[in-house]
């Protein structure tokens, strides 16, 4: 699995300390940027389907927003869930503003992640018989592009970032029960699009 590992109590207290020191000195905020920029960059690219330059602009907005709202950080939540929530909202806003979809990303790292995601879903959904690895490698970008951003987000958070249902619920601001339903629908939709693509 790529991205952030599941939140541990130690990680949580480290993040809480980072927030406290960032409120005292803006320079300390650099440590938060350093820690989260790569996982968030990957998440934003997956959801917003933005180019590298555009992703950097979105990321800047995310960190500025995070800094301005540091006092709104709910200590009861994992900081990573909170900052991912900001990243998610910014990515969705970007998609709405640009009305872009279907843009495949020409990034080998991204493709590897996507392939891993596709394989996990395929194994989970027992699709191996119908969709072989070669086919997935070739078409995973196209399949993901056609997925609803909400489905892309829930699949990425669960299968790439290895997030728990509760964390995904905190990031997407939806009840935990709804996350299970969303995940089920996302996998079903992934399968439907994959099968449709294969027929073409």
């Amino acid at each position: 699995m790529w991205g952030m590992a599941e939140e541990t109590p130690t990680n949580k207290s480290v993040d809480a300390e980072l927030v406290r020191t960032s409120l005292e000195s803006p320079e300390e905020f650099g440590r938060i940027i350093e820690k989260y920029q790569e996982p968030l960059r990957r998440y934003v690219r997956r959801i917003a389907r933005a180019s590298r330059d555009e992703t950097d602009i979105i990321l800047q907005d995310i960190f500025i927003k995070t800094y301005e709202n540091l006092n709104d950080f709910d200590q009861g939540l994992a900081f990573s869930s909170w900052i991912y929530r900001i990243a998610h909202n910014e990515s969705i806003d970007y998609l709405r503003r640009n009305k872009r979809s279907g843009t495949s990303l020409d990034d080998p790292a991204y493709d590897d992640e996507s392939l891993s995601l596709a394989e996990t879903i395929a194994a989970d959904e027992d699709m191996e018989l119908e969709l072989d690895k070669g086919y997935l490698r070739k078409n995973v970008g196209l399949i993901l592009d056609q997925l609803d951003p909400q489905y892309r987000a829930v699949l990425a958070l669960r299968f790439i970032d290895d997030r728990s249902y509760e964390e995904i619920s905190d990031i997407l601001r939806k009840p935990p029960g709804t996350i299970a339903t969303l995940l089920h629908r996302a996998k079903k939709e992934f399968r439907r699009i994959a099968e449709e693509q294969k027929k073409l």
């Binding site: 320079e27 350093e34 800094y67 709104d72 709910d74 009840p175």
Partner: protein
Amino acid sequence: MTFEQKILDQIKTKHLKPLSKGYFKTRDLALWGLLVVFVAALGVGVGMIIYGIRSTNLSVLAKLELTLSQKALFFFPVFWILACAVIATVAFINLRKTRRGYRVTARQFIIIAALVAVGVGSIVYALNVTQYLSRVAANRIPLYKDVVAPNTSTWLDPNHGLLSGVIRSRDSDTSFYVRDSEAVLWHVTGDDMIIPTGYIMQTGERIKIIGKRTGDDAFTAREIHPWSSN
């Protein structure tokens, strides 16, 4: 320049600062305050529904010449039921905006909101608040009696076959004039009126009539009851 330095530079040059804790506390308080207002409004709405249903005289309703759907509209305080649905929806959207409100499912909200609204509504009804509000609304808001709560003003609703007032003059036992509480003088007629045994109508007496409106100020009576009867 690294990405991290770029952002820190932006923070410095634009003199950006974290928004104060007070700002977020005020926002949270406003959201919860609104929720309390919505719950109170929901309670009043449910109280009005209870009042509306309890105000309907079922024996009178059965005698009215109305279709089943008209009777249902007459019996159920539709306006308040719709108002409660709108208030509950807005309250749910508001709850979702609070810090942890997103964890509450629509089903959980419906159960909690129904329990709270019925509890508050019963208290509001028991304290006679709904009766008072209904009277004030009926007196001050045009069409309230006819459209919103026809059943709460049961005995003055000619369009639904109910009339009450004081007998002003009589041509005969089957033709007389009644002035209602809104000062309209009605010509009441009826050849086959049912009158309680032993009851004799007299000028100046207040009566209740069940029948049908036949004109702007004309009414055909089927039943006549003294005002004091149930």
